[in-house]
């Protein structure tokens, strides 16, 4: 077993445990943990099952099998970043709508109070 393989087993196992712990403590929502869990499991399995890794690496034309692990890791990082961009866009939309609702509600609340501008932030 090469050192890089050993390292990737340890690293992906640690990542897996860390993500599970964060979800257990409710510091990470399940919906955001799925890609992380899936990614670390795939890397862990490929690190443990050397012959699978070698087989797939050769099938896609990669001479040095551990570099296939890096490729898988990078692809998961890309997926997770896209996932974040989508989540941010959704939050942006929700935040905008909330700001608009707040402005409308403040105006409605002030309607009856002769509109004293000193009320509010």
């Amino acid at each position: 077993m090469s050192r890089v393989t050993l390292f990737s087993i340890c690293a992906s196992a640690a990542l897996l445990l860390y993500i599970l712990e964060m979800v257990r403590r409710r510091k990470l929502r399940e919906e955001y943990s799925i890609l992380w869990l899936f990614g670390s499991v795939v890397i862990l399995v490929l690190s443990l099952k050397q012959d699978w890794l070698v087989g797939i690496a050769h099938a896609v034309g990669i001479v040095y099998p551990p570099s296939f692990l890096f490729l898988v890791g990078i692809l998961f990082i890309l997926l997770i970043l896209i996932h974040f961009s989508i989540a941010i866009s959704k939050l942006h939309q929700m935040n905008k709508r909330m700001a608009q609702e707040i402005a409308l509600m403040k105006e409605k609340a002030m309607e009856g109070t002769s509109g004293d501008p000193s009320i509010g932030p």
Binding site: Q100, I102, A103, L104, K106
Partner: protein, 235 residues
């Protein structure tokens, strides 16, 4: 629109316009019987108080949403309060208050669903910088090509729309640089858009939201969102 006269709301989005907003609101209130709504887009100066003292209804956004988000807040207000027509005018004195009847007339007569004031129709004194003129020509070409609307002033923020567009824009209005995008939305709805000549001035106070540095971003963003809107579904 028979019987009761149409209810008209003038929407002014404003960010840090305390020096020009009072005069604008007062001249609107003196000249027209319309309600005036100021949407304060997170200003930290006295924009909001000045407008309120001058007789405007004021909506204070808790944070800066950008021009599209602010204008959309005005549309939401108009929708919730049952206005028939919304006129949108800039808060910096760029648009001529006296031209509002020209913008309203085709809508009230039932000849158009949206009327946009153009600084390039009729006799014009407008002279913009070279990049700005180039940008306007580019967007003019883009709008004409993809929607068939013959527009001369695609970035004009001086317009009036009827209640159907108000309702649609309440849910679908771009966050920033919304005017060009709006043509796609109108095209998708089959709205009748019409341009009328208006006067526009160089900004009296404050500075334009478009600096030279942001011009390239502006072009890319608007072009992208314009083209995406062509293929988007609206639920």
């Amino acid at each position: 629109m028979e019987g009761t006269p149409p209810r008209i709301l003038v929407v002014i989005p404003a960010h840090q316009e305390e020096r020009s907003i009072g005069g604008l609101v007062r001249s609107l209130r003196e000249r027209y019987p319309y309600d005036v709504l100021l949407v304060n887009d997170g200003s930290t100066d006295r924009t909001s108080e000045t407008a309120r003292e001058a007789g405007a209804i004021v909506l204070d956004l808790p944070c800066n949403l950008g021009i599209g988000g602010a204008v959309q807040t005005g549309f939401l207000y108009a929708r919730d309060h049952g206005y028939d027509v919304v006129v949108r005018i800039d808060g910096d004195g760029q648009h001529e208050v006296e031209d509002i009847p020209k913008i309203l007339e085709p809508i009230l007569a039932g000849r158009a669903d949206a009327v946009i004031g153009s600084r390039f129709l009729g006799e014009t004194e407008y002279r913009g910088s070279i990049p700005r003129i180039f940008g306007i020509r580019f967007f003019r070409f883009l709008v004409n090509l993809t929607t068939g609307y013959r527009v001369t002033d695609p970035t004009s923020g001086f317009f009036a729309i009827d209640r159907h567009l108000v309702e649609f824009y309440s849910d679908h209005y771009p966050s920033d640089y919304p005017e060009v995008d709006a043509y796609i939305l109108m095209h998708r709805l089959g709205a009748r858009a019409l341009e009328v000549p208006v006067r526009m001035y160089e900004r009296a106070e404050g500075k334009s939201s478009i600096t030279t540095f942001r011009a390239v971003y502006y072009m890319l963003k608007v072009t992208l969102s314009f083209l995406i809107n062509r293929i988007r579904r609206f639920g």
